[in-house]
Amino acid sequence: MGIPEIEDAGCLLCFGYNGADSHPIVARRIVRGKQKGMKIICADPRVTETARISDIHLQLKGGSNLALVNAMANVIWNEGLADKKFIDEHTKGFDEFLKVIEKYTPEYAEPITHIPAETIRRAARVYATTKPAMILYGMGVCQFTQAVDVVKGLANLALMTGNFGGPSMGIGPVRGQNNVQGACDMGALPNSYPGYQNVTVPEIREKFEKAWGVPLSDQVGCPITHVPHRILHEKEEKKRIHAYYIFGEDPAQSDPDLAEVREALDKCDFVVMQDIYMNKTGLYADVILPATAWGENEGIYTCADRGFQRVRKLIEPEGDMRPDWQIIADISTAMGYPMNYKNTEEIWNEMIDLCPSFTGATYEKIEKYGGVQWPCRDKSMEDKGTPYLHKDGIFATKDHKALFYGTDWHPPVELENDQYPMTLSTVREVGHYSVRTMTGNCRTLRNLEDEPGWVQMNTEDCEKMNLKKGELVKILSKRGYCITRCLPTDRVKPGATYMTYQWWIGACNELTTAKLDPISNTPEYKYCACRVEKIEDQQWAERHVMELYDDIRAQMGIDTGKGAKA
């Protein structure tokens, strides 16, 4: 479904998704929906803005997602609220699914989720009986070691209530970054070519071999989150990674367990960084290639609801930067695989012809209609794209049927313990984006929020530790520690802490665990054990933070009047 459809849903189940901080303009649709009478069920351990205006807030214990989802399915089935006709006509595997969810009564889920059984029932009833019902989910689902199972669990809910194939229904992952959808669309994935065409399917591979004129590997590649392991600990010589070409990313800030990431970058034989600003990864790069930025080049982004939209050049780059595509093409050419493109449209045209779902999305149409939501298969101007998927319950499987997929809940990997009695989850902050190389260099956004960031903690926990708002605290896990400011709030539960990952000093990824979901390879950013310590000498801490900040800025090439330069 599309973002504008959200406000017309009868019911919204917002699961592990905090639109107000990650996508304010999507949150706006939720607010408008509420004004139009939309029922909101919000599953989030924090009182997010959505939770605040929700009809039912399922304030679950972090890491209990699947238990809640399965319990809702259990209620829907046991109370006869399922859409049996839809199940019969459009799905498979329901009976096996029922066996899995049988034990997930609300009473069973209550001690796991910390949500009263009756509240789970109420939520399930509202979701199942209000049409159309839409599910939005975010990183609160994905950044767990049990992530894909939960996505499937949410799909199960939509399937069993027939909430697929029409406007304002279905399930939508709200992708965080501006072009994360696009990077996937373009096949920047170890298992698929552009247009979600699997590298292990021979016919597809043959198509690409033919188009590109070289034989291609039939082995699924290395996911990014495996890279530190593949550099540092890989036993099999031919799987070990020796060169790392990093393009528009900063793993030394954004990835979990930063200590390990740094070690990996340090040990990697050859690191190429291609970016617009100096960043922490740059400190380990052997070569730095300066690229033009958004606003300095042309291209197409895909937004969270599969919409291709144009991004245009606003100003001329000042300096010796080149567009990313050009740099890559030059290297390729230099390595004996010539790439010659005059502009992005040429590249685009090559791409869409290889991807049936995108074939119709020409520059011309994107210009004319302001954007095209894929699938758009036909180049004729009549095919304007697809606002929502699975129209009329026809799914993109061979027999057009959706598959139920039930799994048991398991707890997060690293639980609270005596030494680290609290939990840490990473979250977003509305005024900063990603690793902050862009927003941190914007005056007003920098002035609104700056280092060392905040740790959100329950007011009672703060009172117990005698922590005041704004006080600097030390937060530790078994992997590392950082210093940040304490933000007492009643929006989070006792025992839980939340931090945003863009800070250098309040760098929560020093603490996070690199444990991954087995399918998506997403780290468990949303759950690790931590401890908060009071810092008695606040004056020292304030000075220390300032010194650290100046030091890192100096390393990043900023003249702070002191410290080492890069």
Binding site: P24, V31, Q35, E49, R443, T444, L445, L448, R491
Partner: protein, 179 residues
């Protein structure tokens, strides 16, 4: 009657676009080209987030303003439907800050101005309804969820009149149920 901007907690998502909008409106567009420490980042409205609400709070432009009453140097005055602070006159005594029951006034650094001992000069800072700028209050303009509105005398008067008429009709219906 003075006008005022009010936030609606039902619509606000706490994103603070209004706060930056306020700074940009008052400091001018040149701030996008200067050292971020060289201008004063003073939003004149304050985002409040509690367990059950998010909403910016700003000056109500009271009809009998306590801030104006306590100011010892006459730096606060009423001008064209709003209460404004003359930062030239203000000496930062914080009496108004203490007097305001809404917490709408804070103290802010006046960039580039210093006291005799070289320390920063700070003055009272509060919403002036973008007095003197075209286009009305910036916060209202930039809010992505239309959570802020400028309340004018006419609007408030109309609303009261409508409510009174409604109340009268209801009272009438109570005594004349057949109609």
């Amino acid at each position: 009657m003075n006008y005022f901007v009010k936030g609606n907690p039902d619509l606000c998502i706490g994103c603070r676009t209004c706060m930056i909008g306020c700074v940009v409106a008052h400091e001018g567009k040149h701030i996008f080209e200067v050292d971020p420490d060289s201008y004063s980042f003073n939003p004149k409205l304050h985002m409040v987030k509690t367990a059950n609400l998010s909403v910016p709070v700003q000056c109500k432009h009271c009809e009998n303003p306590a801030c104006m009453a306590v100011c010892p140097v006459g730096a606060i005055s009423q001008k064209d439907h709003c209460i404004v602070i003359d930062t030239e006159k203000c000496m930062g005594c914080k009496s108004c800050m203490d007097a305001c029951p809404f917490g709408a006034i804070n103290m802010t650094v006046q960039t580039g101005k210093f006291q005799a001992d070289g320390t920063e000069k700070k003055v009272a800072n509060k919403c002036d309804l973008c007095y003197g700028f075209s286009g009305g209050p910036a916060c209202v303009r930039v809010c992505p969820t239309e959570a802020l509105t400028l309340v004018t005398e006419d609007e408030l008067g109309d609303a009261m009149e409508r409510k009174r008429a409604e109340a009268a009709r209801n009272a009438y219906l109570e005594t004349h149920p057949q109609e």
